[in-house]
């Protein structure tokens, strides 16, 4: 893997929201072209924070962020990178702000300089890819949780990114939709990092899983995806597990 293939290069990142609690503690991490990585870790371990730092939404107080071979420091540097890295927020309510699905999905392409017609075509195409045709005039605010997730994913894919950062993409999805998303994501020829508590999903979509804890990702914590067998001591009816 040559240096040109290094897409995300984080070195020595430290970050905290309040003085008494270090969220990231001298964290280093790399993503190379073609890497398909899963990121797990307990609640509050800083996974979401890490994504936000990669895209310049939060500023680390020390350490460097290098994107596509260039150090990113100022808002302007990140602006360029954001066109090539797509981020799916953990809460889809944070992502959707346009009245209708079509407008929301077309928002990204418009920002990339596409004409309104082109943007609309891209949006319709992307919706179609996610089996969401017919959704274009739905009111985003009134979508169900799972639908919001899918549309959020569409807004990210519509920008045709080279890299995907998805924050718990299967949260709140029913089994069927989860399978659909899993299938779609497997087919993508992109580099990506997926945060998830869902091992099953990760094992199907990623090549390597890193665990985050105490503000660090250490590479020796990498795990190969694996599946689980559950044994229930009791429990009358079948029930679902989240992970």
């Amino acid at each position: 893997m040559g240096h040109n293939n290094l897409i995300i290069n984080l070195t020595g990142l430290s970050f905290s929201f309040s003085a008494d609690n270090l969220v990231l503690d001298n964290l280093s991490f790399h993503l190379h072209r073609g890497d398909r990585i899963g990121l797990v870790g307990p609640n509050g371990s800083g996974k979401t924070t890490l994504f936000h730092i990669i895209l310049g939404l939060l500023k680390p107080y020390s350490g460097t962020v290098e994107l596509f071979g260039r150090q990113a420091k100022k808002e302007k540097d990140f602006r360029e990178a954001r066109k090539r890295i797509g981020l799916l927020f953990q809460d889809p309510d944070d992502q959707l702000f346009s009245p209708t699905v079509l407008e929301d999905v077309a928002f990204g392409p418009l920002n990339l300089g596409k004409s309104p017609e082109e943007a609309k075509d891209i949006a319709l195409e992307t919706l179609d890819r996610l089996d969401l045709s017919g959704f274009e005039d739905r009111i985003t605010y009134k979508l169900s949780g799972g639908e919001k997730r899918l549309v959020s994913l569409a807004t990210v894919l519509a920008m045709d990114p080279e890299v995907l950062l998805l924050d718990e993409p299967t949260n709140g999805l029913d089994e069927e939709t989860e399978e659909k998303i899993t299938y779609i994501l497997r087919k993508l020829e992109l580099s990506y990092i997926f945060i998830s508590h869902n091992f099953d999903f990760l094992s199907k979509t990623t090549d390597r899983i890193y665990a985050m804890s105490k503000g660090k990702i250490s590479s020796d914590e990498a795990m190969a995806p694996h599946s689980h067998i559950h044994i229930h001591k009791s429990g009358k009816t079948p029930h679902k597990h989240k992970s």
Partner: protein
């Protein structure tokens, strides 16, 4: 974030009863606002500077605040001296600055900043919630007091939602420019913010009903005047009376 940078501290001023602070600021502002003589205005400015010093506020931050809010004043300095009729002092190109114009601009500047500094020294050194409670005790209309308290409480929640939505716009490559797309996007942002706020308001109302709320607000807070409060109130009343005397009684 919406912060109250001056509200914490351990000066005498920070410890004063918020009711006293509100009364003093109100009296001082009114007297200074309707004064016109430098004979009264300059001592007023001195008093306000003294108050800021007593509150031990970081001078740099206070100065920066003043700079931010003196926009209109600066604008008046560019206009008044050259448009006010009077004795010409000097000229810049075709524009002639009059002495009267400069004096008027100067008078406004001193007035405005004396009041601003007093507000910083007395009001900004009190947590907003204490001011709200003091308003209640000073018999401001009950509805206003509660509207004030609730509004401040929810500014923080809604600001967080606002930040999340702007982040979502940024990661999708949004850069504000002078064009329709930008205005439309901001309008949607505002619309979404209003809708979310409306929903949250309904939930809060429900939460209040669950806790037995029945159209009546009860209060717990009681303030009591301390020696310092009475001393400060007397001292400031005397000073403000002095300003009034300088403005309206003394003849020169």
């Amino acid at each position: 974030m919406i912060e109250e940078p001056f509200s914490t501290g351990n000066s005498i001023i920070h410890g004063l009863d918020p009711r006293v602070k509100i009364i003093v600021v109100a009296l001082f502002s009114v007297i200074v606002a309707i004064s016109s003589r430098f004979l009264a205005l300059l001592p007023a400015l001195a008093i306000s500077l003294f108050l800021v010093a007593s509150a031990k506020l970081p001078i740099k931050k206070v100065f920066y605040r003043l700079l931010l809010v003196n926009g209109l004043i600066l604008f008046l300095w560019f206009v008044l001296p050259f448009t006010y009729k009077g004795r010409g002092l000097f000229a810049i190109g075709p524009f002639i600055a009059t002495k009267e114009g400069i004096l008027l601009a100067g008078q406004i500047t001193v007035k405005s900043n004396a009041i601003l500094l007093t507000m910083i020294a007395l009001l900004s050194t009190t947590p907003i919630f204490s001011l709200g409670h003091a308003m209640g005790q000073l018999h401001f209309p009950n509805k206003i007091t509660h509207l004030f308290l609730f509004t401040f409480r929810y500014i923080h929640v809604i600001y967080k939602e606002y930040r999340k939505l702007t982040n979502a716009m940024r990661v999708r490559g949004f850069v504000p420019r002078t064009n329709m797309h930008t205005y439309k996007s901001y309008a949607y942002l505002v619309g979404m913010l209003l809708v979310r706020s409306y929903d949250r308001a309904e939930r809060i109302h429900k939460a209040m009903r669950c806790r037995g709320f029945n159209k009546k607000y009860h209060s717990l807070t009681q303030f009591s005047l301390k020696m310092e409060d009475i001393f400060c109130l007397s001292l400031m009343s005397a000073a403000i009376t002095g300003l009034a005397v300088l403005q309206w009684v003394i003849t020169t």
